[in-house]
Subunit: 231 residues, 2 copies
DNA sequence: CGTCATATTGATGGGCATCAATATATGTGG
DNA sequence: CCACATATATTGATGCCCATCAATATGACG
């Protein structure tokens, strides 16, 4: 056992509305995990032990197709939870999860203790359902993104969603992932990612410096993100 | 008011485990809709009135992109429910739904009366959550399908999932949708669909007759559905 | 400093969309 | 019931996007 989980849970949207007593019950059934990039959190097919909340860092959810290709379903970041559905139905995990940053801090909330709470406290039930609804919306968005948007538009959206700081030339953003992982998250190949960044540099839309990118012409990038045909 | 809803609800998986009293409470807050293909059930952005169960026929859920293109999220058939998440969070509907067959029979379950039940009866809460989990899984599957599978594989899967009857030549299946709608459901264009069917006819994998298709070589079709590169 | 993963760049090709033209089906009013 | 109007289907031509294969370049790290 180490640092208390309770204050950490309090910061997560899904638990924000719960009273102190409920929260400590949940905390009692949870444990903290400290991970490095690449470390596995859960594997597809495993019986469900609990669900997870990302406190710091990030992780990705993905499935492996029969031929070994990895399909990223979603990236999860601080404040988000995942595998809630598996807990409530007590099934097996339907996908894999690994940390994508170092360090990444995760809280695992044990299934049994949580389920008792779910039955007893309607606030917990509501919070859980709301959380699952969010997941549904995210996946719906993902389906749209992967089908109607071009690779360039997906990358542009990703960059524009990143935290940025201003500089003399424009917005500066840091890629939080290795490029090969970023490519996988966007559902494209590393080669395509490389070529897109190269093209944008030639067009003087961005200036690249390894994991650091300067957005010179954010209007152009927004236009690409909107897609509807161009660049 | 017309025929009673209660016996209909009983046949739906989501309500199967509930006792008679609960069921009639739910039924009291519901109403039946009889629709023809193309008739709208709900529109994106509308405030949530309730959720829906398909009793007979079928419907599709879709979003419209800014440029007017339609992206089918999922087809729903008899026995399935949709828009549960919207009810539980009392938000607006995140997508559109229209009937795709004539006739299609839908039961609408009113939001307020159902929410009271959700708070009071933990079986209802559990059933609801299980239903949402199923949606999550379906969407996860959809993401995979749209990204890792070719257009041919998606069509093959669709055909193989259809109810079929045997004949001298092979399985006979009826397409339950107009081909343009089928194409939209698969995330392809009508032209591509037409060409795929044509190619399969040339290869003597299927024989086509308008909306009726005879699968001559189901092994070949299964191989296409597995994808991993061929045809 | 060598080794291995990651990144870039080039060449090639396939899958599928798009545009365009015709054929077929569906439905409506006279 | 037919003729016409309109939606749907088929087929062809073309081209783009992006994956794949292949070869180097660059970086990370013991």
């Amino acid at each position: 056992m180490d640092a208390p989980i309770e204050p950490v849970l309090r910061t997560l949207p899904i638990f924000a509305a719960l009273d102190a007593a409920t929260l400590s019950t949940i905390a009692a059934g949870g444990r903290r995990l400290r991970l490095s990039a690449g470390e596995s959190i859960l594997r597809e097919g495993e019986p469900c032990r609990g669900f997870f909340a990302v406190v710091a860092g990030g992780a990705k959810l993905f499935r492996l197709s029969p031929d070994g290709r990895e399909q990223v379903l979603q990236r999860v970041r601080a404040g988000q939870t995942f595998a809630e559905a598996a807990v409530l139905t007590m099934k097996r995990y339907p996908a894999n999860a690994v940390a994508t940053e170092t360090p990444t801090e995760i809280v695992e909330i044990g299934a049994e203790s949580f389920l008792r709470l779910f039955d007893g406290d309607r606030h917990v039930a509501k919070a859980m359902v709301a959380s699952m609804s969010t997941w549904l919306l995210r996946l719906v968005g993902r389906v749209e993104e992967l089908t109607v948007l071009s690779a360039g538009a997906r990358l542009a959206r990703f960059v524009l969603d990143l935290p940025s700081s201003n500089s003399a030339d424009g917005l500066v953003v840091e890629l939080p992932l290795a490029k090969k992982d970023l490519a996988a998250s966007l559902g494209i190949t590393p080669e395509t990612l490389s070529r897109l960044l190269r093209k944008w540099q030639d067009l003087e839309i961005v200036r690249g410096d390894g994991a650091s990118i300067v957005v010179l012409d954010s209007d152009a990038l927004v236009a690409i993100a909107e897609d509807v045909g161009a660049v």
